[in-house]
């Protein structure tokens, strides 16, 4: 046997990059849970005092893939952070780690997986979000910096390159894309870019939140979730502040309001002071005030996971009209969800990032 002259040791990541609770010590975890329970108590008191009659505890009906391996139908998810739904009602899951897009039918059974790791046509690198429309699937790839189009049968149909780094992207029914630049070149860089269906920048609009003069901090201040309405309007829910804006399709600001919520206000105040929270594994981070937002059927739904899974239903004037929550897991992590109507009831399909399952709640 030859004697090795060099040894190259690879430590392969134990947890996906977005996991926050695993790996921390038991003591730290206990303290974390105690704090969450305390905050939940405050949340519950506020809900009962201010929104009695509009509080809806959620029930988890099922999960995709199912808990039992025998019922999971061969679906293997590892790095899914977002959800989309095709016209038939099936789920589309873009997996940032396995570099594929999984298409499920309405029962949650896998129809096919699209793509494999790579840079060529039909290949994917860190696909972080998928959109559906006109019988096609549009995949936003962080790694390859492009939007690639696929037929539902998995055949690649081209796409376009992105040269700017976008922290969030949304596709309107018209086929145009709205995106938030992650890098702010100057103090007056607009909040949103509107791209044609072929990727040409059509216009940029919206003024940024200007809490910080530092460009990097300003980029963090202006991270947001985007959700396009039926009429082409765009809802912008800022990630680190309880602020929501609605823009018309031409970029005109139509409304802006702050969500009146005590926990969001507390978190927002910490972010305004520029304080960061330790994450245990990575660099300190801002507190996420709004994890995801979806506009559906005349209402804006805002998902949060601090202290527990909570979805606020908000009318276009900014009034909370419903509060849904699920307090059985204080370490619940999600960055995306869908709202659907099923048998006359609202149903939430929430991407549980930590456990890599789509949780169905109503």
């Amino acid at each position: 046997m030859r004697i090795a002259k060099l040894s190259l040791i690879f430590f392969l990541a134990a947890y996906p990059f977005f996991s926050t609770s695993q790996g921390s010590s038991k003591g730290a975890n206990d303290q974390y849970l105690r704090e969450r329970r305390k905050i939940f108590s405050k949340l519950k008191t506020w809900m009962e005092n201010q929104h009695a009659g509009r509080i809806y505890p959620l029930q988890r009906l099922s999960r995709i893939p199912a808990e039992q391996a025998s019922e999971s139908k061969g679906i293997h998810l590892k790095g899914v952070i977002s959800l989309a739904q095709n016209e038939a009602g099936g789920l589309i899951l873009a997996d940032t780690i396995l570099n594929q897009v999984v298409v499920l039918d309405t029962s949650g059974a896998p129809l096919r997986s699209i793509g494999r790791a790579g840079q060529g046509p039909g290949e994917l690198m860190q696909p972080s979000r998928a959109f559906c429309g006109a019988g096609l699937i549009y995949v936003f790839e962080l790694g390859n910096m492009r939007v690639q189009t696929f037929e539902e049968n998995g055949r690649a149909r081209g796409g376009f390159r992105l040269y700017k780094t976008y922290s969030a992207i949304e596709r309107a029914k018209s086929g145009q894309f709205y995106a938030i630049p992650a890098i702010r070149e100057s103090q007056d860089t607009p909040l949103i870019d509107k791209l044609s269906e072929k990727g040409q920048l059509l216009n940029s609009f919206g003024t940024c939140l200007a809490f910080s003069s530092d460009l990097r901090e300003k980029s963090l201040d202006n991270a947001a979730s985007l959700s396009a309405g039926e009429g082409g309007e765009l809802w912008v829910a800022f990630k680190h502040y309880p602020i929501v804006r609605m823009y018309a399709s031409d970029g005109k600001l139509m409304s802006e309001f702050s969500i009146r919520h005590p926990i969001m206000a507390d978190q927002s105040a910490i972010n305004r002071r520029g304080e960061k929270i330790p994450t245990g594994q990575r660099a300190p981070a801002r507190i996420v005030v709004t994890n995801a937002a979806r506009y559906w059927n005349g209402k804006l739904y805002v998902l949060r996971t601090h202290p527990c899974l909570e979805i606020a239903e908000i009318d276009p004037r900014g009034e909370i009209t419903g509060l849904y929550y699920w307090a059985e897991d204080f370490a619940y992590t999600s960055l995306d969800f869908l709202v659907v109507r099923r048998s006359g009831r609202i149903e939430f399909r929430v991407m549980n990032i930590k456990e890599q399952k789509v949780d169905i709640f109503n």
């Binding site: 430590f11 134990a14 376009f160 992105l162």
Partner: protein
């Protein structure tokens, strides 16, 4: 792991994988030998202070001396290969290997059409050669710098960008609109692309990306700068040196 083994097996490299779940690596290991540690993952990770949320590597000499360590990038070709080349083979790409001073960009191997990239009234041009672009990376900072140079002294300085890959009209339009660029953007000739790729294969993709040249009004290379963390500082120093201060002050 497999690529590192194949590229450096001649140098007697031994690959060791440490993972909580080695099964997926084992499935792909048929074509190369490697050792693995699974059960003692936590102990090993603690001893090495390895991050749990991003993969990392550690390169040791036969005497057990740590030569290099770092986080693993997304692609071997753009990241680890460069480090291994440098540490093991002492091999580094320099911009002069591809863009020697005095050479003319219309000649071999570049075959650029000067009329497409040079503005007849400008004394100097900054040219960037990209095989990939993103505004968050050095390429984005180079573009910002180019915009600054043309803004500060538009009468004497022009800019152009050469992309390794063929860009369709739509790609160019997208680049122009997204990045708000008004100077020439061209794709490399087939011959140059081939040369570019063979060098990227020999060295690493990252070293062949983000190369900047300064050329005179006839397309002769005055200076070339390879991708490194001091790239912009080096260019700025060169441009604002005595030799060019008249044109930029």
């Amino acid at each position: 792991m497999k690529k590192a083994y194949h590229d450096f097996q001649g140098e007697g490299i031994q690959i060791i994988g440490v993972s909580r779940d080695i099964s997926r690596i084992q499935a792909k290991s048929a074509s190369y030998p490697f050792f693995y540690i699974q059960e003692a993952y936590e102990e090993a990770a603690n001893r090495f202070r390895a991050p749990r949320h991003q993969s990392a590597f550690y390169l040791f000499s036969a005497q057990g001396i740590l030569l290099h360590s770092g986080l693993l990038g997304v692609r071997y070709e753009t990241h680890l290969k460069k480090i291994l080349n440098s540490c093991i083979r002492n091999k580094r790409f320099t911009a002069q290997d591809l863009f020697p001073r005095q050479a003319n960009l219309s000649n071999e191997p570049w075959h650029l059409r000067l009329e497409e990239i040079l503005h007849p009234s400008k004394e100097y041009h900054l040219g960037a050669f990209f095989n990939a672009f993103c505004d968050a990376c050095q390429s984005g900072r180079i573009l910002s710098f180019m915009k600054d140079v043309t803004r500060i002294n538009p009468s004497q300085w022009g800019c152009f960008i050469v992309f390794k890959d063929d860009l369709g009209e739509q790609d160019i339009e997208n680049f122009r609109s997204q990045m708000k660029v008004d100077f020439p953007l061209v794709a490399s000739s087939r011959e140059f692309k081939s040369k570019w790729e063979s060098l990227a294969d020999e060295y690493s993709e990252s070293e062949l990306n983000e190369i900047v040249v300064i050329v005179d009004h006839q397309g002769n290379i005055i200076e070339s700068f390879g991708s490194n963390e001091n790239l912009l500082k080096d260019i700025r120093k060169f441009i604002f040196s005595e030799r060019h201060s008249e044109s930029t002050s």
